[in-house]
């Protein structure tokens, strides 16, 4: 039986290769994602390991927030605490250090240089991690700094240049004294930007407290055990301190950097999911056809005494072999893909050395399960069908056995699923219940895939209406509806991708529309000072500049804004604060239903108050990133606005408790009759010292908000591109089969006078009709489901419905192109058939 299987496999290799390609792509994306992840993780880890290899232990003050956030400022250690650490027995080499994210050097173009990595402000120290000077000197006076080589390369500054630096305080000017590198490396890790001040300046600018340190580094004497020393030091210091070994530190830091990889990983995994989903249908289709074609052969085997089990196994074995090949090819491609993406990512964060491949076992195992498992599972149904071929079929015409009409049972099952799906969707929409909604989407999807053969003929007949006058096209149309099941199965592979993307685009476009509508309707500010692409540390707006803006004759009011995570009664909560609460209330349209905003306590919107079970007059315990917990009254509750629906704390509290006392955004209301466009340049010039923010009119802001989501919509279209490429394979596959099956017919057509161009047109028509049918089904299904989801998500802020009509038309046009492309090969094969051989073809 094994030999027979191999023979049959080789005889149909082209067809199987085509269907296996989808699996190859899926496997490649998965193993690529995992390889990229492990390669970069390895690179990050080793980079941080060397970065912290000198550090035995690091002692920091325990952060006030349990769930410490990246952007939260470290709690400073005062001089007394440093002395305490030094005094612990066993510690004989301890140094207070200052090294805190948030020092932004302003480049020659007046902007903070881009980069996804941290921007550290550090105190010069001759001791721990002593940087090596590449050029110039160490900073010796309060207005001197040193910068790291990566930053020097990026900005083009050299020793002697005057530069501005943003820290906890607004822009300050310094002279660059030197450029440093760390331990012979051209740079520290992951392309970070480091500004090194003298110690007192670093303490003032980075910690806001003279004589304080961000950490105490403890050297490890020779032969000392880090873990043992750690427990000694922890015990001696008691509450309020955190002690970590150098290794733990490296792991923590590397872990944070690895977070960057999540987006790229999920994108690749998304592609993989689509590829595999489509691949399943291609495999089912390919094997069904193989089984149908081999009906006589299988029946003969059964007649000769092969058991059902043997027949079933022979088909499954074929699938396993195809899956194996797909896995090997896909995994190899994936390793390459992963390595290339890793290289690109590492290049972006220059200075990260990616050494070779890191092939993770997970990547191999997962991709193996995917490649071989999915292929085998997909072939299970055709295998079962093969085992049901009766021995008597060996004596019959093969065509008589292959039942190609949509089965009644199948239609009934599909209809039942469709009804269940519709009910679930209706429920989901009515009650805004997400589980019901998504279950409904799933049911509707599966039901459509099952029902599609039942409506293939009528729909394709309608689609073919415009072309039936040409004989070649008419014959192509008749061929397309000749095997409705096969056509349907091919169309499904296209339908899935298109439906997915049409649905997602509908939801995203509605979200975009809702977001811009919200900004447009609810935010009354004429000018906004914002930075939407903030890094880990929020951008700052100079308070002095805001005062100058307030003094402009055209300006009615200005509300500076800052936000940060904190805890309200122990619940993690995003906190807002405004430097002018009254102006803010007007700008975001707060309508108080209880109390008011009098500046002495917190205010919040109704939903938040309900969630936290609070009302005006209650006291809350507020813990922010800096300082001790405060007790504040709730002075007011306002109606939900969708733009400011959080807990708002008084500005004085935020200045003490947030990372910096400067606002990160500001909103400006102009006097009646003043033009935003005219005031904008004046405001911009006043903000010259705040290079991280930009001034936008309301129109600009609406556009900016829309563009953000627009980017996501574009990424979603990439998914479609992948699905389309795979779908082409499916269509090519079925066309090759059709041409082969109809060889004699084609020969006859040529002999009675059909020219090559007409042969091509015939095959192209069949192909385009199949593709168009798939895309149309996908567009309709995707849009319907997308609209349902939008309706169901109205409570989540998607208030507007916006169907991306243009995109939907583009999908249909793309399907036309796909159909045309897919027909190129098979069409010319049909056109170039040798007439005599074709007529004689059995």
């Amino acid at each position: 039986m094994f030999r027979a299987t191999m023979k049959s496999l080789l005889a149909r290799k082209l067809r199987l290769v085509l269907s296996a390609l989808a699996i190859v792509l899926g496997v490649a994306f998965v193993s690529g994602a995992l390889t990229m992840n492990s390669t970069l993780s390895e690179a990050f880890s080793s980079a941080y390991d060397t970065a912290y290899e000198d550090v035995g232990l690091q002692v920091t003050a325990e952060a006030p927030l349990a769930d410490s956030v990246d952007a939260a400022a470290p709690k400073p250690l005062d001089a007394a605490s440093v002395e305490r650490v030094k005094g612990v027995s066993g510690v004989n080499d301890a140094t207070g250090v200052v090294r805190v994210p948030g020092a932004r050097l302003i480049g020659k173009d007046g902007k903070v240089p881009s980069g996804s990595s941290q921007r550290f402000g550090q105190a010069w120290s001759d001791k721990w991690g002593a940087p090596k000077l590449r050029e110039g000197n160490a900073p010796r006076t309060a207005d001197e700094i040193a910068i790291n080589a990566a930053l020097a390369d990026k900005t083009g500054f050299k020793p002697g240049d005057r530069v501005g630096v943003l820290t906890l305080q607004p822009r300050r000017e310094f002279t660059i004294a030197g450029v440093v590198e760390f331990d012979g490396r051209p740079d520290f890790v992951a392309g970070e930007q480091t500004v090194i001040f003298t110690e007192p300046v670093a303490q003032e600018l980075m910690l806001g407290q003279a004589g304080a340190y961000s950490a105490v580094n403890v050297g490890l004497g020779s032969g000392a055990d880090a873990a043992a020393l750690k427990s000694d030091v922890s015990a001696a210091l008691g509450q309020g301190f955190e002690v970590r070994t150098g290794q733990e530190l490296a792991d923590d830091q590397a872990g944070a950097s690895k977070g960057l990889l999540t987006t790229i990983t999920s994108l690749l995994l998304g592609f993989a999911a689509v590829a595999v989903l489509v691949g399943v249908f291609l495999i089912v289709n390919a094997f069904s056809v193989v089984v149908a074609q081999r009906t006589r052969e299988l029946a003969l085997m059964r007649a000769l005494g092969a058991s059902r089990k043997q027949v079933r196994r022979s088909v499954l074995l074929e699938a396993v072999l195809v899956g194996l090949v797909a896995w090997i090819v896909g995994a190899a491609l994936g390793l390459l893909l992963g390595r290339v993406v890793a290289g690109v990512v590492a290049d972006e964060d220059s200075g990260l050395a990616v050494g070779g491949f890191t092939v993770s076992g997970t990547a191999l195992v997962v991709s193996f399960l995917l490649g071989v498992g999915v292929t085998t599972l997909a072939a299970a149904v055709p295998a079962l069908r093969a085992s049901r071929v009766p021995p008597i079929a060996a004596m019959r015409e093969a065509a008589a056995v292959a039942d190609d009409r949509p089965g009644r049972k199948q239609t009934i099952v599909g209809l039942v699923l469709l009804v269940i799906g519709a009910v679930l969707l209706a429920l989901g929409i009515a009650s805004e219940a997400l589980p019901a909604l998504f279950a409904g989407v799933l049911f509707a999807f599966v039901a459509t895939a099952i029902l599609i053969p039942a409506f293939t003929r009528p729909v394709v007949n309608v689609l073919a209406k415009p072309v039936t006058r040409s004989t070649a096209a008419r014959l192509g149309w008749l061929n397309a509806v000749r095997h409705p099941r096969r056509t349907a199965a091919t169309a499904v592979s296209l339908m899935i991708g298109v439906a997915l993307v049409a649905g997602m685009s509908t939801v995203m476009r509605s979200l975009q529309h809702s977001a811009t509508e919200t900004v447009d309707n609810q935010l009354s500010a004429d000018l906004s000072i914002i930075n939407l692409s903030s890094g880990n540390v929020p951008p700052t707006v100079s308070p002095a500049a805001l005062q100058q803006i307030r003094a402009l004759p055209d300006v009615a009011s200005v509300a500076g804004y800052a936000s940060e995570y904190g805890e309200v009664n122990g619940n993690k909560q995003f906190l807002f604060s405004w430097d002018d609460q009254a102006a803010a209330a007007a700008i975001v349209g707060m309508e108080f239903t209880q109390g008011s905003a009098n500046g002495s306590g917190a205010v919040m919107n109704e939903s938040t108050a309900e969630r936290l079970k609070l009302k005006a007059g209650d006291q809350i315990k507020l813990q922010m990133g800096r300082g001790d917990a405060l007790t504040l009254p709730v002075t007011g509750v306002y109606k939900d606005t969708t733009v400011a629906d959080r807990v708002t704390v008084p500005w004085s509290a935020a200045q003490a408790g947030f990372r910096t006392d400067q606002p990160s955004q500001a909103y400006i209301d102009l006097r009646d009759g003043a033009s935003a466009e005219q005031v904008k340049p004046t405001v911009e010039s006043l903000l010259a010292g705040s290079p991280e923010v930009e001034v936008q009119t309301k129109k600009d802001l609406v556009e900016t908000v829309g563009n953000g989501i627009g980017t996501i919509i574009l990424v979603v279209q990439l998914l479609l591109a992948v699905a389309m490429i795979i779908a082409i394979l499916g269509v090519v596959n079925i066309l090759v089969l059709s041409v082969l099956e109809r060889t004699r017919e084609l020969g006859m057509l040529r002999s009675i006078g059909m020219i090559r161009g007409q042969m091509r047109r015939m095959v192209t028509t069949e192909s385009v009709l199949i593709s168009l049918f798939g895309a149309l089904t996908g567009v309709v299904l995707g849009t319907v489901l997308g609209v349902a989801v939008v309706k169901g998500l109205r409570g989540e802020g998607i208030t507007a419905l916006s169907v991306p009509w243009v995109l939907l038309v583009v999908y249909l046009v793309a399907a036309l192109v796909v159909g045309w492309l897919a027909a190129l090969g098979p069409g010319s094969r049909a056109a170039k058939l040798k007439v005599l051989e074709a007529i004689a073809y059995e």
Binding site: T471, A472, R474, L475, L478, N479, R482, R744, E745, G747, M748, L749, R750, S751, I752, G753, M754, I755, R756, Q758, V835, L836, I839
Partner: protein
């Protein structure tokens, strides 16, 4: 080895010519060359006054479409089309409409008037072959080539098809060339050309079953010049 050697054959217009010979004798190759399906390496083939030697694929295809009709052993109808659509196919490919009068005449002769809207799968073999005959005649070709047209039919259905071919020569003046190895089928022809080893070896006018069988025996007799050449 050449499949045809020094063949010089004239097909008389308005006559029914049969080509006979053992398998491998080259009779099918001859017909394919005459019909513009295969090309000759030496010599010339004329349809009427047109030399088809040296024509490119497109010219040959158009020639077949407009001036030649085909009847195959395997019927070769399109299962997706009705009988009428199959009959009109050569004209449809050329983008023309059938002449109503001629169409009626052909349909009448072939006796398929009540089957026009049936598909091939709903018809018997004999009916399918009669559809194929009508298809070959519908475009008023100068010549019709039939390759073992009765090979897949029982004798009764075969006789119907041959009757039709005969009457289309007698009543419509059609020129027909038929390749067959069935002596009975060949008796319907006006002239039988015998073929062996790529050469014409004999010819009969107004053949009968007996004269045909005798000639075939003669060709196949051991020791005959032809057999000697073969061994």
């Amino acid at each position: 080895m050449a499949a045809l050697r020094g063949v010089d054959l004239d097909i008389t217009a308005g006559k029914f010519t049969a080509i006979m010979g053992p398998s491998g004798s080259g009779k099918s190759t001859l017909m394919h060359c005459l019909a513009g399906l295969d090309t000759v390496t030496e010599g010339d083939v004329f349809i009427g006054d047109t030399s088809i030697t040296g024509m490119n694929d497109k010219q040959l295809t158009t020639l077949r479409r407009d001036r030649i009709g085909f009847i195959f052993q395997q019927f070769n109808l399109l299962p997706t089309l009705t009988a009428q659509e199959n009959i009109e196919l050569p004209l449809a490919i050329a983008g023309r409409k059938p002449e109503a009068e001629w169409f009626e005449q052909v349909i009448g002769k072939v006796g398929l008037r009540d089957r026009l809207h049936h598909r091939p799968s709903q018809m018997s073999g004999g009916q399918q072959q009669r559809v194929a005959c009508a298809r070959a005649l519908v475009s008023k070709p100068e010549i019709v080539f039939a390759d073992e047209p009765t090979g897949n039919l029982d004798s009764r259905a075969g006789a119907d098809v041959l009757d039709f071919l005969r009457t289309s020569v007698d009543d419509l003046g059609q020129t027909i060339v038929m390749v067959t190895h069935d002596p009975v089928a060949a008796t319907y022809a006006d002239r039988v050309v015998f073929f062996a080893d790529g050469r014409i070896v004999n010819e009969l006018e107004k053949p009968t079953a007996e004269t045909i069988l005798d000639t075939l025996k003669e060709i196949d007799r051991p020791g005959s010049p032809v057999s000697a050449a073969r061994s």
